[in-house]
Symmetry: C2
Subunit: 199 residues, 2 copies
DNA sequence: GAGTTAACCTAACACTGTTCGGTTAATCGG
DNA sequence: CCGATTAACCGAACAGTGTTAGGTTAACTC
């Protein structure tokens, strides 16, 4: 195929197609050839719009995290922390399959630094020392990322026989998958609330 | 090479060689061919001792988590949670490069279920409802895994120019890598303490 | 001593991310 | 309007991946 009249590809189209594949087939389900195929194109063509697969994933991650809410600090720092964490987790849990990728290292993006700057500033403003502020921010990230990926209740089998008599305190663990989403959210809220209260 | 007089390979040798590679070269640095080479053997030979690479990683993960301390519940549930979380994180942070693998899903193995059973039982015993107990356990895992992989302070560049005037509250972020390990631990302890206190 | 099993090998398969060089259409300068 | 440049795609290839099939020989069992 020569150069087409209207371009088939664009960075945006590539990103959203890639994200769709990740959501559907998991992180390992995304390959450049498969992505190209779904866009009606050969793999090599993608590299005219995307520097590398890793970069593509980073861009996707950044776009997912765009809508994280930093507005709560106008009220007070506790509200700021809660809103930030909540919207952060929501953004991640809408695309859980990409979270393992984030585990490889901070998608050291501009946007991401901006958020950290706001968090730190707000906490210092509220009277925390710089070191404390840093640690609190870290703790908030621990909880957000932990909640996003542990996706705790997903790890359990739906077969009661897998727990049986051996683990008497897990005798209802097989029910977890059915309520996984709700329980994950509630667990996150409980953890976040306890953390902020305990500070 | 025919069958050697004394076997060159064993599941144990393979596991520890693999872990050494992961610690040294990262998770992506481990390939079956490289692993075989370091053991003085061809890649195919590994499959006489190991079912699959994924299984190998799961086994390694399980062996790392073996020494998690469940004894604190003899004192009280708060102490139990703290000791469990602390030793859990310590085990993971001794081999940080394998943590991203765990993010792909719980190495849902026998040992891991045993620990969850103990946690749940102790909390219910202490008066929490079953649902609350489940959520508290989940929260603990959030913090442990979050702390292990966010490995927060590692994400920052050591070059002050990367933050400069744009992010005034991050003006000392370039110092983070130097104290990463200590800060990560302190952040974890602060988060854990706040969480347990807030319950 | 024969037969079986265990431990290794070589070779291959079907993938992966990425690069190189080529072909053609759109676009811009004069 | 024409020539040169650029942009968008393709085919083929490279080096690497996990894994399997089939072969060879040593060690063990009866």
């Amino acid at each position: 195929m020569p150069r087409p009249s209207t371009p088939l590809l664009s960075a945006d189209r590539i990103r959203s197609a890639a994200l769709a594949i990740i959501d559907r087939d998991g992180l390992d389900g995304l390959s450049m050839r498969k992505l190209a195929a779904e866009l009606g194109v050969q793999a090599a063509s993608l590299y005219g719009h995307v520097r590398t697969k890793d970069q593509l994933l980073n861009d996707i991650a950044a776009s997912i995290l765009q809508p994280v809410d930093m507005s709560g600090f106008d009220v007070d720092w506790r509200e700021g922390l809660v809103r930030c964490a909540r919207s952060y987790r929501e953004a991640l849990s809408a695309h859980p399959n990409i979270v393992p990728f984030l585990a490889y290292g901070p998608a050291g993006r501009e946007e991401s630094l901006r958020r950290l700057d706001i968090l730190n500033g707000a906490l210092v403003n509220a009277g925390w020392s710089r070191r404390e502020a840093t640690m609190i921010v870290a703790g908030l990230m621990f909880i957000v990322f932990g909640a996003a990926l542990s996706s705790f209740s997903n790890g359990f089998s739906a077969d009661p026989a897998d727990y049986g008599d051996r683990f008497p305190n897990l005798d209802r663990a097989h029910l977890l998958p059915a309520v996984a989403a709700e329980l994950d959210r509630d667990s996150f809220e409980l953890t976040l609330a306890a953390f902020v209260r305990g500070l």
